[in-house]
């Protein structure tokens, strides 16, 4: 075949373009570490990237949600822990008040103590986290317990999404913790105790000791429930973080490729480009020198 100048130059340009394109691509991939940056790089891998980016975003968001829910439940747990301690103190006060060695004056003082503790308990039952009342159910913008102990909230459970199909409760029912819905109306019992102590009614005080134990158990049950759910969120957050890391690793393996392979390809592409330039220079010198 006759080799003409145009075909020689055409071949040089084509080869040079190819070598330059290969070198450019290899440099881009090696520098960014990403084998797939646009759909046409690898349509199937890009589709996987879209799905996994979404999965990673969800895992990240739900991990944040789980941590925040755990934080709220920890506040609930602390409030209930204090309430539990307070109810034990109330029970001890009742035992002291029921004692035959306690005189009426002392019972009046104990009645005052009980009323103070009832107010503190009421304050704990109305605990706020930010602008949200924690024991009002979904009526979280309203004071859950009035000063007389009336419950203004509801018993609804707020479920929070953490894993696909898994939405643990992020609240503890104030109704179950403090009202007859959970067994006994704690504020009514405390009011009755204070009244009995005030009126020096030793028998009535004695009769209230057992219900006070029930009150304590009722709050402890709620505290355990809060702790259990907080633990679920903590575990979920851990699972989400590790799952996110695993998904990201799989994604990077698919999208980023093997760094050693990329560096090797960059070296090969660079060599090919340099060879192509050298050959082009030689061919051009033949053309002009002839």
């Amino acid at each position: 075949m006759r080799v003409t100048e145009r075909s020689r130059v055409g071949t040089m340009i084509l080869t040079q373009n190819r070598a330059s394109d290969r070198f450019g691509n290899a440099a881009r991939i090696a520098a960014s570490g990403a084998r797939v940056t646009k759909p046409s790089d690898d349509p199937v891998a890009y589709g996987s990237k879209v799905r996994r980016d979404y999965a990673i975003a969800m895992l990240e968001e739900r991990s944040k949600i789980a941590s925040r829910a755990e934080g709220e439940l920890t506040v609930v747990q602390n409030a209930l822990s204090e309430a539990s301690d307070m109810l034990l103190a109330v029970k001890e006060t009742a035992i002291q008040g029921a004692s035959t060695t306690t005189d009426p004056k002392a019972r009046k003082l104990l009645a005052e103590d009980v009323r103070t503790m009832r107010d503190s308990l009421l304050s704990l039952a109305n605990t706020k986290y930010g602008e949200k009342y924690l024991f009002g159910g979904t009526r979280s913008d309203t004071l859950p317990f009035s000063p007389d102990g009336t419950f203004n909230g509801n018993d609804q459970v707020v479920r929070v999404p953490v894993l696909e199909g898994v939405s643990p409760p992020s609240n503890v029912s104030g109704a179950k913790a403090f009202t007859a819905v959970g067994g006994r109306d704690i504020f009514a019992d405390l009011t009755a105790l204070a009244d009995a102590l005030e009126n020096d009614n030793q028998a009535a005080v004695k009769d209230l000791i057992s219900p006070l134990s029930t009150n304590h158990e009722q709050v402890v049950r709620a505290q355990v429930e809060a702790g259990f759910n907080a633990e679920r969120f903590r575990t979920a957050a851990d699972v989400l973080v590790s799952t996110k890391a695993a998904v990201a690793e799989r994604l990077s393996a698919e999208i980023e490729g093997d760094p050693a392979e990329q560096i090797t390809e960059l070296t090969l592409a660079r060599n090919a480009y340099e060879r192509s330039v050298a050959v082009t220079k030689q061919l051009l010198s033949i053309g002009t020198g002839g």
Partner: protein
């Protein structure tokens, strides 16, 4: 043959070698001229009985089949190049490095998740509205960008049609000049170079086949129509059909539509990119916007805002799918009113109720977006455009190679080889020198003869 005959032989030799040297000089001078076909000086034995040489003509070496192959490959290359270039724009619009439609949809779902976690947090309600607005704006912008690409392609097709008409007129004009030159026995090689280059240019734009008649004129066929016949050229024109698709016409004695035959050259590539690839991308974006808006609206309308209101849509969108992305906005009733975001499933569960926010958060994982999940739906759109671009690039690479091979074959037959020309140059130079030497020898012999008297 006498001494005077020898003088004639030497003279004819010098004349013939001069002509051959001039041809070689022209070949060397035009080695890089586009469209130039090498010339060959045709030398013959003289028939005057003296045994000399005679320059008869300069022939344009031209392999018509190799050239036709180049024109055909140029057409396929033109189509592949135009389509690949348009698909680059479509791909970048649909899948930018960040803030794609898919990214914005993911952000909206994230905001619903956050709201489901803490429905009483007013900042999270505001975030839902902001994310929904971002998604709507991105869908609108994406569609507008695709429409702009469509308009650009249309403009480019219009320019191509104008260029084509200019080239068709030029080919007809060159046909006339070639026939005139051929008729008077003149040299039409330069005109043919220009005309064949123009034919190749037409091939690049629309695909063409040229057949030369005895007078040297070519009849140019393209897209199933005769575009140039003899000295007259027809005119191409384009407009849009009722669906917005490009239509092409040839106007001669009558106006004939040739749209369905435009499948090669730049016009063929632009037509496929705009009326097939881009149309599909726009339809996909519209369908995505329509399905996403309706899926979210259906669930959101069942929710109760913290103001107690219900039955509100999250998005406002057209009733039909066509053009949906262009009309997508956040429901105006919600803008500036985060309390109207429906997170609760009943008025009784306000303000902390989150059942509807939870449903909205989980909506992305259900197959309510045209039978797919939200991420799958976007993935299928970008995967489709990725495959199209991938195929177009592969086609372009193939056509680059096949065009290079065709050009190489054509150049092998029609092009100038400097190696050859250098050899020819030496050969003709030596032949000229030898003829000159013979002239001198004959002259010396004549002088010797004259001196002997």
């Amino acid at each position: 043959m006498g001494l005077f005959g020898l003088l004639s032989v030497a003279r004819d030799g010098m004349t013939a070698q001069s002509a051959a040297l001039a041809t070689t000089g022209a070949n060397v001078a035009n080695v890089a001229t586009p469209g130039y076909a090498r010339r060959t000086a045709i030398l013959e034995s003289a028939t005057d009985g003296n045994g000399g040489v005679r320059y008869t003509r300069t022939e344009r070496s031209f392999d018509r089949f190799a050239y036709a192959h180049v024109v055909g490959e140029q057409s396929k290359y033109g189509a592949a190049d135009a389509r690949s270039s348009a698909l680059t724009e479509i791909e970048t619009t649909l899948a930018p490095p960040s803030n794609s439609i898919g990214d914005q949809a993911t952000s909206l779902i994230r905001s619903f998740n956050a709201l489901a976690g803490f429905a009483t947090d007013p900042s999270l309600r505001e975030d839902v509205i902001a994310r929904a607005d971002n998604l709507a704006t991105t869908l609108q912008n994406t569609r507008a960008s695709l429409e702009a690409t469509s308009a650009n392609i249309l403009g480019r097709a219009g320019d191509t049609v104008n260029d084509l008409n200019a080239q068709l007129g030029r080919i007809a004009d060159l046909n006339r000049q070639i026939a005139a030159a051929t008729g008077v026995g003149g040299d039409s090689a330069g005109l043919r170079d220009q005309r064949d280059l123009a034919v190749r240019d037409v091939g690049d734009r629309i695909g063409a086949r040229a057949i030369e008649d005895k007078t040297g004129r070519v009849t140019l066929f393209a897209a199933g129509a005769v575009l140039v016949e003899g000295d007259s050229a027809k005119e191409l024109s384009m407009d849009l059909d009722t669906n917005g698709g490009m239509r092409f016409f040839v106007t001669g004695a009558a106006k004939t539509e040739i749209t369905s035959r435009i499948d090669g050259g730049t016009l063929g590539g632009l037509r496929e990119a705009r009326d097939v690839d881009l149309k599909k991308a726009i339809a996909d974006v519209d369908a995505y916007a329509f399905d996403v808006a309706n899926a979210f609206n259906t669930v959101h309308a069942t929710g109760f805002g913290s103001d107690g209101g219900t039955g509100r849509a999250l998005f406002t969108i057209s009733a039909t799918q066509a053009g949906a992305a262009a009309t997508l906005t956040v429901n105006a009733a919600l803008v500036g009113h985060p309390e109207r975001v429906g997170a609760a499933d009943s008025a009784g569960s306000l303000p902390g109720g989150n059942a509807i926010a939870l449903k909205l958060a989980n909506l992305a994982d259900t197959q309510v977006f045209g039978g797919k999940t939200l991420a799958d739906r976007f993935a299928s759109i970008v995967t489709d455009v990725g495959f199209r671009k991938n195929n177009a690039d592969a086609e372009l690479e193939l056509r680059t190679d096949t065009l290079a091979v065709a050009e190489s074959l054509s150049d092998s037959a029609n092009g100038v080889s400097l190696d050859e020309e250098m050899v020819n140059l030496s050969q003709y130079q030596r032949a000229f020198e030898a003829s000159s030497r013979i002239l001198r020898a004959a002259d010396e012999l004549l002088q010797t003869l004259m001196e002997s008297f």
